[in-house]
């Protein structure tokens, strides 16, 4: 095992190396050179993050103080630079709301810094434990894969949209900058640092959403910025509370969490609000849907597998504080309502990326609900959800991106019979979807775990969440299954054509599918070696979270599902082919029928969207309303009620 020092150097490498790469990539213009740089950079980051993960299995949490004194000032200057940039951009775009909030944030931050200069307890700036390890692995591996995928994707993207400015060096630069920031978020112990990295991710998200430079993209980018800033503004407030009330030693994450609810509840609650905004919970959710204008790798990396996870990560960090608290229950309710409402809205969407976006919001909601409940079992489920979701969702996003470039549409309706045109890619999407909602696969394991967790916790609120999940799981089954159906429904078989897909894209998809299945088999290992030890450090005792017999059953199911396709060949040849039943009047081929007025009509079979019940506008209005109500209630309790 690595010594503490080498380990720390690894952490610093993970933060600084992508930063270096970012700078490098911004300068590189040649495509081949960039390719080499991105691939090698991604591989290095991936390996380093995996080493971190492996190491965190055996080592306890490690804390590390950066020996350089001036670095705190540098961070502050960084904060000011970010704010300055945002201010200039927002003024240029006449986004005065953004401008105002940034100014507010800056003032708060200056106040905090002033207090910090006056009274500064020495706490370790960086740390790493099992949760950081897991997060780092997700960022490193998935982030790396997505960056490599983006190489091929962005080339096609610009070939398809010649009207949009080709700023690929900058694009990859920001992607790596983002990776650096994400590592910073998960390794920071000093909340001031964390805030700095947090703001960088917000900025990266803003820059990447507006990458297409269309009016819509710019508008949505500012909306994302605004919502994240509103949330982010809560963090300096939390700092103020810490510095004014509890004492500066609690600016350390570890110190704050272990201090218990008495001290930590108000700052934790405030930071959690920032987390809610970042992870696009109602009422903040609309920014994430808008963010789908960004190129697909961005959606995959920032808006489903990593950046939004930062939001839930921070809530998960404070989960032990929330256990059994009204604040926690409110957060859990926000998560629960988000889960239900976003899933329901996903039913009415036919744009594949929007479906994915809403499903992401929904799953983040479920994670938030678990964290809000804050018991060991709930947290266990939450972390598994983070892992499974990150992998399966990025797989889905990337496959959809690939399909989009082949069929020039991201509408699910246009994916009818994709299985004959692109069997491999379709298989990947199917695995991804199965991973999102079907029994032996990842998300369902966690859903099962969260049900187990909720039923016993904080009665009767836990039951409320159980009821929400009960409804939500039926709803999720609906929209995923209809998508699956669309993919495999074959009207007239199309010619198989997957040759245009760049090899790098394909390989990335293979790896991600393998990972999706792999974590299903490997989740007990993740649980035993990573999550449970981590939970043990947070909670004194952790009961048997998943019994061996249930794991056996899940494995049996998984094997069944994986073995089944081998019987497919048996069925494909035995039957006499007859055209589909069209009330006895097929006409020319088998998808047309002899219609009225002497017109031969093609059958068209669109999915159901149940707009009247699950319409986007209607449900958004209701759930944003509820979200605002709950957030206001939460803030009231935190600020006016003083945390009760």
């Amino acid at each position: 095992m690595l010594s503490n020092d080498t380990y720390m150097e690894l952490l610093i490498f993970l933060i600084l190396f992508p930063l270096l790469m970012a700078g490098l990539l911004t300068l590189i213009q040649g495509e081949n050179f960039r390719r080499a740089a991105v691939i090698s950079g991604a591989v290095l980051v991936g390996i380093a993050s995996l080493i971190t993960l492996a190491d965190s299995i055996t080592t306890q949490a490690v804390y590390y103080s950066v020996p350089v004194d001036m670095i705190g000032i540098l961070i502050f200057i960084g904060d000011i630079l970010i704010s300055g940039y945002i201010i200039s951009v927002s003024l240029k775009a006449r986004q005065y709301l953004v401008f105002g909030i940034t100014i507010l944030q800056l003032i708060l931050l200056c106040a905090v810094e002033y207090l910090a200069l006056a009274d500064h307890a020495h706490i370790p700036e960086l740390f790493s434990d099992q949760l950081s390890g897991i997060m780092a692995a997700i960022i490193g591996v998935i982030g790396g894969l997505i960056c490599v995928y983006a190489l091929g994707y962005m080339r096609e993207y610009h070939a398809e949209h010649p009207d949009r400015p080709d700023k690929r060096p900058r694009f990859f630069g920001i992607m790596f900058l983002f990776l650096s920031a994400m590592f910073g978020v998960v390794f920071s112990n000093n909340l001031l640092w964390l805030f700095f990295f947090w703001e960088i991710t917000t900025l990266c998200s803003f820059l990447l959403i507006r990458y297409p430079e269309t009016d819509e993209a710019v508008k949505n980018a500012f909306r994302a910025l605004l919502f994240n800033l509103v949330g982010g503004a809560c963090i300096p407030v939390a700092f103020l509370v810490i510095f004014l009330g509890q004492g500066s030693q609690y600016i350390g994450l570890h110190e704050l969490v272990t201090a218990g609810p008495g001290i930590a509840l108000i700052p934790a609650g405030l930071i959690a609000v920032a987390g809610l905004a970042k992870s696009a919970q109602f009422p903040f959710s609309s920014w994430l849907v808008g963010a789908m204008v960004a190129p697909t790798p961005v959606s995959a990396l920032l808006h489903s597998s990593t950046m939004v996870k930062a939001g839930v990560y921070i809530i998960a960090r404070f989960a032990p504080v929330f256990e059994g608290q009204i604040v926690g229950i409110l957060i859990a309710l926000i998560g629960g309502i988000t889960f239900l409402a976003a899933s329901a809205i996903a039913i009415s969407q036919s744009n594949a990326k929007k479906v994915l976006a809403y499903s992401t919001i929904a799953n983040l909601g479920l994670i938030v609900a678990c964290c809000g409940v804050g018991t060991a079992e709930a947290l266990w489920a939450a972390i598994l959800l983070i892992v499974f979701h990150a992998i399966a969702k990025s797989l889905l996003f990337l496959s959809v991106g690939t399909v989009e470039h082949q069929i020039h549409s991201r509408d699910i309706e246009d994916m009818t019979g994709l299985v004959t045109k692109m069997p491999r890619i379709t298989m990947m999407i199917l695995i991804g979807i199965a991973g999102m909602f079907l029994a032996p696969f990842g998300m369902l394991i966690s859903k099962w775990a969260s049900l187990h967790a909720f039923v016993e916790s904080v009665p009767p609120y836990g039951i409320l969440l159980v009821i929400i999940i009960a409804y939500g799981s039926g709803i999720t089954a609906f929209f995923w299954a209809k998508w699956m159906g669309k993919l495999i429904a074959v009207g007239e078989p199309q010619t198989k054509d997957e040759s245009h897909i760049p090899r790098s894209e394909k390989n990335i998809l293979y790896i991600l599918s393998a990972l999706t299945i792999g974590v299903c088999f490997g989740f007990p290992i993740i649980s035993w070696y990573l999550i449970e030890p981590w939970l043990l450090t947070m909670y004194q005792s952790v009961t048997d979270l998943i019994s061996l017999s249930n794991i056996e059953i899940m494995f049996m199911m998984l094997f069944l599902v994986l073995i089944m396709p081998f019987s497919l060949a048996r069925f494909t040849h035995s039957a006499r082919r007859v055209p589909r039943y069209l009330c006895g009047i097929p006409e020319g081929g088998s998808t047309a029928f002899m219609g009225s007025c002497g017109i031969n009509r093609e059958i068209a079979l669109s999915n159901y969207y149940l707009d009247r019940i699950f319409g986007e506008e209607r449900l958004s209005r209701i759930s944003v309303g509820m979200g605002i109500f709950l957030i206001v209630l939460l803030l009231n309790i935190l600020i006016i009620g003083g945390g009760l």
Partner: protein, 285 residues
């Protein structure tokens, strides 16, 4: 369902469920006929039907549809085995859903109008009943303190006394699961509906036989669920199952099919009021 070895119980289910299921279905058909003033088929008619379907030559739009139906059958049997083997009730429910998703996919594959609409409706049904089934499982857990069906079946006492609302809600959605009027939206026992045979329209021969067989396994599993509401009172359980079955048949014969909106919203409403209300009340107590 006392402390039998889980594997033996599961094996017994796989062998005996078709026998029991076919007898129940046969009696169901006779009773239905009698309620309509007819004589009805022989008791073993479902058995004849299934055997006949196996004797027929296959026709299919695409071969893959049989594959999905095969998966459906296997997972329904797996669900049942898990259930009677005394496994975790939530896992049983999820396996059950998985099985149904395969049925739906089988219906989607053919890209046939009626099968497609049937599949969509099958999903609507799934969406309508899923909450109640999960809530029933949670309710049973609250009473038994265990998610294991093995423990629930051996629970001394009557869970139904604490779970009247859940039981009511469960009976309500049982009608969906048994594909009986008024909720036989996706496919019905008789074809006189707007969807021809709905989701099963494109299946024939062996494939259809597998669907029928899976329905029979499903029936036994669903009746097994009723069992859990009565703990270890064997005779009471059997009486309850008979009464409920007769009641379902009566309802089947006393109602027309309703539209999907009514079906879904009413199921959700009943789930919310009776089911969710019940478990919420239990958690406060």
């Amino acid at each position: 369902m006392n402390s039998m070895d889980p594997f033996i119980a599961a094996a017994l289910f796989i062998i005996l469920a078709p026998v029991v299921g076919i007898l129940i279905t046969g009696l169901d058909r006779i009773l239905t006929a009698r309620m309509q003033g007819r004589v009805g088929p022989p008791v073993l008619q479902p058995w004849y039907d299934i055997r006949k379907l196996f004797q027929k030559k296959q026709v299919a739009v695409w071969g893959a549809q049989s594959f999905f139906i095969f998966c459906y059958l296997i997972f329904i049997i797996f669900t049942g085995a898990l259930f009677f083997g005394g496994g975790d009730i939530l896992l049983v429910i999820f396996a059950f859903t998985l099985g149904h998703v395969f049925l739906v996919l089988g219906a989607y594959v053919s890209y046939s109008p009626y099968a497609h609409i049937g599949a969509e409706r099958e999903l609507i049904q799934l969406m309508a009943v899923e909450p109640m089934i999960i809530i029933a499982a949670i309710g049973l857990y609250q009473v038994n303190g265990s998610f294991l069906i093995g423990d629930m079946a051996n629970h001394p006492g009557l869970p139904i006394l604490l779970l009247p609302g859940v039981f009511l809600g469960f009976i309500y959605i049982l009608t969906f699961k048994l594909r009986k009027s008024p909720f036989d939206l996706a496919t019905s026992h008789h074809a006189h509906q707007e969807l021809v045979k709905g989701s099963t329209t494109e299946f024939s021969g062996r494939t259809l036989a597998m669907v029928e067989l899976a329905h029979i396994y499903e029936l036994v599993v669903m009746l097994g669920f009723i069992w859990l509401f009565f703990g270890d009172n064997l005779w009471l359980c059997i009486c309850a199952i008979i009464i409920i079955m007769v009641l379902e048949i009566l309802v089947d014969n006393c109602t027309s099919r309703v539209r999907w909106q009514d079906a879904m919203t009413s199921a959700w409403f009943v789930t919310l009021v009776a089911g969710a209300g019940n478990i919420f009340a239990l958690s406060i107590m």
